[in-house]
Protein backbone atom coordinates (compact mmCIF):
# COMPACT_ATOMS: atom_id res chain seq x y z
CA UNK A 1 0.00 0.00 0.00
CA UNK A 2 1.24 3.38 -0.95
CA UNK A 3 0.16 6.75 -2.25
CA UNK A 4 1.23 8.55 -5.40
CA UNK A 5 1.19 12.15 -6.56
CA UNK A 6 -0.77 13.01 -9.69
CA UNK A 7 1.85 14.73 -11.79
CA UNK A 8 -0.57 16.86 -13.79
CA UNK A 9 -2.01 18.42 -10.65
CA UNK A 10 1.01 18.84 -8.36
CA UNK A 11 2.09 22.47 -8.14
CA UNK A 12 5.40 21.66 -6.42
CA UNK A 13 4.53 23.66 -3.32
CA UNK A 14 6.53 21.20 -1.20
CA UNK A 15 4.11 21.23 1.72
CA UNK A 16 3.93 17.43 1.79
CA UNK A 17 7.65 16.73 2.00
CA UNK A 18 8.29 17.65 5.65
CA UNK A 19 5.13 16.06 7.05
CA UNK A 20 5.87 12.55 5.79
CA UNK A 21 6.71 10.35 8.80
CA UNK A 22 8.71 7.93 6.66
CA UNK A 23 10.56 10.52 4.54
CA UNK A 24 9.09 8.92 1.43
CA UNK A 25 8.47 12.20 -0.37
CA UNK A 26 11.18 13.86 -2.41
CA UNK A 27 11.29 16.47 -5.14
CA UNK A 28 11.54 14.74 -8.48
CA UNK A 29 12.66 16.03 -11.85
CA UNK A 30 9.23 17.50 -12.61
CA UNK A 31 7.09 17.39 -9.47
CA UNK A 32 7.29 15.84 -6.03
CA UNK A 33 7.06 12.07 -5.83
CA UNK A 34 6.37 9.40 -3.24
CA UNK A 35 8.56 6.33 -2.86
CA UNK A 36 6.07 3.49 -3.06
CA UNK A 37 8.50 1.12 -1.35
CA UNK A 38 8.57 3.09 1.87
CA UNK A 39 5.18 4.88 1.91
CA UNK A 40 2.93 3.39 4.60
CA UNK A 41 0.00 5.75 4.02
CA UNK A 42 0.95 6.87 7.55
CA UNK A 43 -0.38 3.65 9.07
CA UNK A 44 1.00 3.29 12.56
CA UNK A 45 1.92 6.97 12.71
CA UNK A 46 -1.29 8.90 12.01
CA UNK A 47 -4.97 8.27 11.43
CA UNK A 48 -4.92 9.95 8.03
CA UNK A 49 -2.11 10.32 5.49
CA UNK A 50 -0.38 13.57 6.40
CA UNK A 51 0.52 14.52 2.83
CA UNK A 52 -3.12 14.27 1.76
CA UNK A 53 -4.08 16.38 4.75
CA UNK A 54 -1.71 19.25 3.91
CA UNK A 55 -1.92 19.11 0.11
CA UNK A 56 -3.75 22.24 -1.13
CA UNK A 57 -4.99 20.52 -4.28
CA UNK A 58 -7.96 18.15 -4.27
CA UNK A 59 -7.31 14.61 -5.51
CA UNK A 60 -3.63 15.25 -6.11
CA UNK A 61 -2.40 12.49 -3.81
CA UNK A 62 -4.20 9.20 -4.37
CA UNK A 63 -3.79 5.56 -3.36
CA UNK A 64 -1.69 3.54 -5.75
CA UNK A 65 -3.78 0.67 -7.01
CA UNK A 66 -2.14 -2.73 -6.67
Amino acid sequence: MALYIVEADCISCGDCEPVCPTQSITEGAIVFKIDKRTCTECEGDFDVPQCVKVCPIDNCILPLEA
Partner: protein, 234 residues
Protein backbone atom coordinates in the same frame (compact mmCIF):
# COMPACT_ATOMS: atom_id res chain seq x y z
CA UNK B 1 -23.57 64.93 -3.47
CA UNK B 2 -26.61 62.69 -3.42
CA UNK B 3 -27.93 62.56 -6.97
CA UNK B 4 -24.71 63.48 -8.71
CA UNK B 5 -23.17 60.84 -10.84
CA UNK B 6 -19.44 60.93 -11.38
CA UNK B 7 -18.08 60.13 -14.78
CA UNK B 8 -16.31 56.81 -14.87
CA UNK B 9 -13.04 58.55 -15.66
CA UNK B 10 -13.33 60.92 -12.72
CA UNK B 11 -14.31 58.14 -10.35
CA UNK B 12 -11.22 56.19 -11.40
CA UNK B 13 -9.02 59.22 -10.89
CA UNK B 14 -10.44 59.77 -7.41
CA UNK B 15 -9.76 56.14 -6.54
CA UNK B 16 -6.22 56.46 -7.88
CA UNK B 17 -5.56 59.73 -6.09
CA UNK B 18 -6.88 58.33 -2.80
CA UNK B 19 -4.26 55.60 -3.03
CA UNK B 20 -1.48 58.16 -2.91
CA UNK B 21 -2.88 59.67 0.28
CA UNK B 22 -2.16 58.06 3.64
CA UNK B 23 -5.20 57.11 5.73
CA UNK B 24 -7.67 58.44 3.17
CA UNK B 25 -9.92 56.18 1.14
CA UNK B 26 -11.92 57.07 -1.95
CA UNK B 27 -14.91 57.96 0.19
CA UNK B 28 -12.87 60.29 2.37
CA UNK B 29 -11.33 61.96 -0.64
CA UNK B 30 -14.74 62.35 -2.22
CA UNK B 31 -15.91 64.16 0.92
CA UNK B 32 -12.94 66.51 0.66
CA UNK B 33 -13.50 67.13 -3.04
CA UNK B 34 -17.19 67.82 -2.64
CA UNK B 35 -16.24 70.68 -0.32
CA UNK B 36 -13.70 72.03 -2.78
CA UNK B 37 -16.08 72.34 -5.71
CA UNK B 38 -19.74 73.16 -6.20
CA UNK B 39 -22.04 70.36 -7.26
CA UNK B 40 -22.17 68.81 -9.74
CA UNK B 41 -18.61 67.59 -9.62
CA UNK B 42 -17.00 67.58 -13.02
CA UNK B 43 -13.56 66.74 -14.29
CA UNK B 44 -12.73 70.34 -15.14
CA UNK B 45 -13.82 71.66 -11.74
CA UNK B 46 -11.79 69.03 -9.93
CA UNK B 47 -8.80 69.74 -12.16
CA UNK B 48 -8.78 73.39 -11.08
CA UNK B 49 -8.66 72.84 -7.31
CA UNK B 50 -5.81 74.76 -5.70
CA UNK B 51 -3.42 73.10 -3.29
CA UNK B 52 -4.40 75.27 -0.32
CA UNK B 53 -8.13 74.74 -0.88
CA UNK B 54 -7.50 71.05 -1.08
CA UNK B 55 -5.50 71.02 2.13
CA UNK B 56 -8.02 72.98 4.17
CA UNK B 57 -11.19 71.34 2.93
CA UNK B 58 -13.39 69.15 5.09
CA UNK B 59 -12.07 70.58 8.36
CA UNK B 60 -8.45 70.09 7.35
CA UNK B 61 -8.73 66.36 6.76
CA UNK B 62 -5.58 66.51 4.68
CA UNK B 63 -3.76 69.16 6.73
CA UNK B 64 -1.22 66.68 8.05
CA UNK B 65 -0.31 65.34 4.63
CA UNK B 66 2.96 66.28 2.98
CA UNK B 67 2.61 68.93 0.24
CA UNK B 68 4.41 66.78 -2.30
CA UNK B 69 1.93 63.97 -1.81
CA UNK B 70 -1.01 66.37 -2.02
CA UNK B 71 0.36 67.79 -5.25
CA UNK B 72 0.74 64.32 -6.64
CA UNK B 73 -2.86 63.53 -5.74
CA UNK B 74 -4.06 66.74 -7.42
CA UNK B 75 -2.04 65.89 -10.48
CA UNK B 76 -3.72 62.53 -10.72
CA UNK B 77 -7.12 64.17 -10.22
CA UNK B 78 -6.51 66.72 -12.96
CA UNK B 79 -4.94 64.05 -15.14
CA UNK B 80 -2.53 66.35 -16.97
CA UNK B 81 -1.32 63.48 -19.02
CA UNK B 82 -3.47 63.13 -22.12
CA UNK B 83 -3.63 59.36 -21.95
CA UNK B 84 -6.20 57.67 -19.85
CA UNK B 85 -5.67 56.20 -16.41
CA UNK B 86 -6.54 52.70 -17.43
CA UNK B 87 -5.56 50.97 -20.62
CA UNK B 88 -8.31 49.77 -22.94
CA UNK B 89 -9.39 46.19 -22.72
CA UNK B 90 -9.78 44.04 -25.79
CA UNK B 91 -12.50 41.56 -26.57
CA UNK B 92 -11.65 37.91 -26.25
CA UNK B 93 -13.49 34.86 -27.45
CA UNK B 94 -12.60 31.29 -26.64
CA UNK B 95 -10.12 30.03 -29.17
CA UNK B 96 -8.68 33.43 -30.10
CA UNK B 97 -5.39 32.52 -28.49
CA UNK B 98 -4.65 28.81 -28.70
CA UNK B 99 -3.01 27.13 -25.71
CA UNK B 100 -3.54 30.20 -23.59
CA UNK B 101 -4.28 30.64 -19.92
CA UNK B 102 -6.15 33.43 -18.21
CA UNK B 103 -4.32 35.24 -15.45
CA UNK B 104 -5.09 38.09 -13.09
CA UNK B 105 -2.54 40.56 -11.74
CA UNK B 106 -3.20 42.60 -8.60
CA UNK B 107 -2.21 46.18 -9.37
CA UNK B 108 -2.54 49.59 -7.78
CA UNK B 109 -1.32 51.60 -10.75
CA UNK B 110 -2.18 49.51 -13.82
CA UNK B 111 1.56 49.39 -14.59
CA UNK B 112 3.08 47.12 -11.96
CA UNK B 113 2.02 44.00 -10.15
CA UNK B 114 2.14 45.78 -6.82
CA UNK B 115 -1.24 45.08 -5.23
CA UNK B 116 -2.23 43.13 -2.16
CA UNK B 117 -4.88 40.52 -2.95
CA UNK B 118 -7.41 41.90 -0.49
CA UNK B 119 -7.15 45.60 -1.27
CA UNK B 120 -5.53 46.25 -4.63
CA UNK B 121 -7.09 48.83 -6.91
CA UNK B 122 -7.52 46.43 -9.80
CA UNK B 123 -7.11 42.94 -11.01
CA UNK B 124 -5.79 43.22 -14.55
CA UNK B 125 -7.05 40.14 -16.35
CA UNK B 126 -5.02 38.88 -19.29
CA UNK B 127 -5.34 36.01 -21.70
CA UNK B 128 -1.80 34.85 -22.37
CA UNK B 129 -0.18 32.28 -24.60
CA UNK B 130 3.47 31.82 -25.51
CA UNK B 131 3.33 34.42 -28.28
CA UNK B 132 0.71 36.96 -27.30
CA UNK B 133 -1.04 38.56 -24.36
CA UNK B 134 -4.31 40.41 -24.39
CA UNK B 135 -5.74 42.57 -21.61
CA UNK B 136 -9.33 41.36 -21.60
CA UNK B 137 -10.78 42.74 -18.41
CA UNK B 138 -10.13 44.97 -15.44
CA UNK B 139 -11.84 43.95 -12.21
CA UNK B 140 -11.79 45.37 -8.75
CA UNK B 141 -11.12 43.87 -5.34
CA UNK B 142 -13.93 45.96 -3.84
CA UNK B 143 -17.01 44.34 -2.46
CA UNK B 144 -20.02 46.11 -4.01
CA UNK B 145 -21.67 48.40 -1.52
CA UNK B 146 -24.65 46.84 0.17
CA UNK B 147 -23.63 43.32 -0.74
CA UNK B 148 -23.25 41.05 2.25
CA UNK B 149 -20.73 38.30 1.71
CA UNK B 150 -19.74 35.52 4.09
CA UNK B 151 -16.09 35.86 3.32
CA UNK B 152 -14.63 38.79 1.44
CA UNK B 153 -11.61 36.93 0.19
CA UNK B 154 -13.70 34.04 -1.07
CA UNK B 155 -15.87 36.59 -2.89
CA UNK B 156 -12.80 38.24 -4.42
CA UNK B 157 -11.40 34.90 -5.50
CA UNK B 158 -14.76 33.97 -7.01
CA UNK B 159 -14.58 37.07 -9.22
CA UNK B 160 -11.39 35.60 -10.66
CA UNK B 161 -12.58 32.05 -10.97
CA UNK B 162 -12.04 31.97 -14.72
CA UNK B 163 -8.35 32.73 -14.14
CA UNK B 164 -5.76 30.03 -13.63
CA UNK B 165 -3.14 32.16 -11.91
CA UNK B 166 -3.36 35.31 -9.84
CA UNK B 167 -0.17 37.32 -9.43
CA UNK B 168 0.05 39.47 -6.32
CA UNK B 169 2.67 41.47 -4.45
CA UNK B 170 1.28 40.04 -1.22
CA UNK B 171 -1.53 37.87 0.03
CA UNK B 172 -2.47 36.54 3.45
CA UNK B 173 -2.09 32.84 4.23
CA UNK B 174 -5.78 32.07 4.78
CA UNK B 175 -6.71 34.08 1.69
CA UNK B 176 -4.17 32.16 -0.38
CA UNK B 177 -5.69 28.89 0.82
CA UNK B 178 -9.14 30.08 -0.28
CA UNK B 179 -7.79 31.05 -3.69
CA UNK B 180 -6.21 27.61 -4.12
CA UNK B 181 -9.49 25.99 -3.09
CA UNK B 182 -11.14 27.62 -6.09
CA UNK B 183 -8.55 26.13 -8.40
CA UNK B 184 -6.57 29.34 -8.90
CA UNK B 185 -2.83 29.42 -8.29
CA UNK B 186 -1.77 32.44 -6.25
CA UNK B 187 1.70 33.63 -7.20
CA UNK B 188 3.38 36.08 -4.85
CA UNK B 189 6.22 38.02 -6.44
CA UNK B 190 9.52 38.28 -4.59
CA UNK B 191 9.82 41.88 -5.72
CA UNK B 192 7.52 44.33 -7.45
CA UNK B 193 7.64 43.80 -11.20
CA UNK B 194 5.83 45.42 -14.10
CA UNK B 195 2.82 43.74 -15.65
CA UNK B 196 4.79 43.42 -18.88
CA UNK B 197 7.70 41.69 -17.14
CA UNK B 198 5.45 39.26 -15.30
CA UNK B 199 3.63 38.36 -18.50
CA UNK B 200 6.91 38.07 -20.39
CA UNK B 201 8.27 35.72 -17.76
CA UNK B 202 5.15 33.57 -17.90
CA UNK B 203 5.37 33.45 -21.68
CA UNK B 204 8.96 32.29 -21.37
CA UNK B 205 7.85 29.41 -19.17
CA UNK B 206 4.96 28.59 -21.49
CA UNK B 207 7.24 28.53 -24.53
CA UNK B 208 9.80 26.37 -22.75
CA UNK B 209 8.76 23.41 -20.66
CA UNK B 210 5.77 24.42 -18.55
CA UNK B 211 5.22 22.50 -15.30
CA UNK B 212 2.54 19.81 -15.67
CA UNK B 213 -0.24 21.77 -13.96
CA UNK B 214 0.38 24.74 -16.26
CA UNK B 215 0.57 22.51 -19.33
CA UNK B 216 -2.77 21.07 -18.27
CA UNK B 217 -4.21 24.57 -17.92
CA UNK B 218 -2.89 25.40 -21.39
CA UNK B 219 -4.73 22.37 -22.72
CA UNK B 220 -1.57 20.55 -23.72
CA UNK B 221 -1.46 16.84 -23.09
CA UNK B 222 2.03 15.56 -22.46
CA UNK B 223 1.94 11.83 -23.01
CA UNK B 224 5.51 11.79 -24.26
CA UNK B 225 6.87 13.33 -21.15
CA UNK B 226 4.90 10.98 -18.91
CA UNK B 227 6.35 8.06 -20.82
CA UNK B 228 9.83 9.47 -20.53
CA UNK B 229 9.43 10.03 -16.83
CA UNK B 230 8.27 6.45 -16.30
CA UNK B 231 11.22 5.10 -18.22
CA UNK B 232 13.56 7.23 -16.19
CA UNK B 233 12.09 5.85 -12.97
CA UNK B 234 12.46 2.30 -14.25
Amino acid sequence: MAANVLSRELALRIALAARTLPDVDSKGLLAVLSECVDAPMTESKVASIALETFRKANGGALAHVDSGILQQALKILSNNAPDKVLPDTQAYQDGDLPNSVRIACASDDAINVNGHFGNCAWFMVYQVNAEAARLIDIRTADIPEGLVVDDKNVYRAEQLQDCKVVYVASVGGPAAAKIVRLGIHPMRLEAIASLADVIGQLQGVMAGSPPPWLAKAMGIEAPDRFKFEREAMG
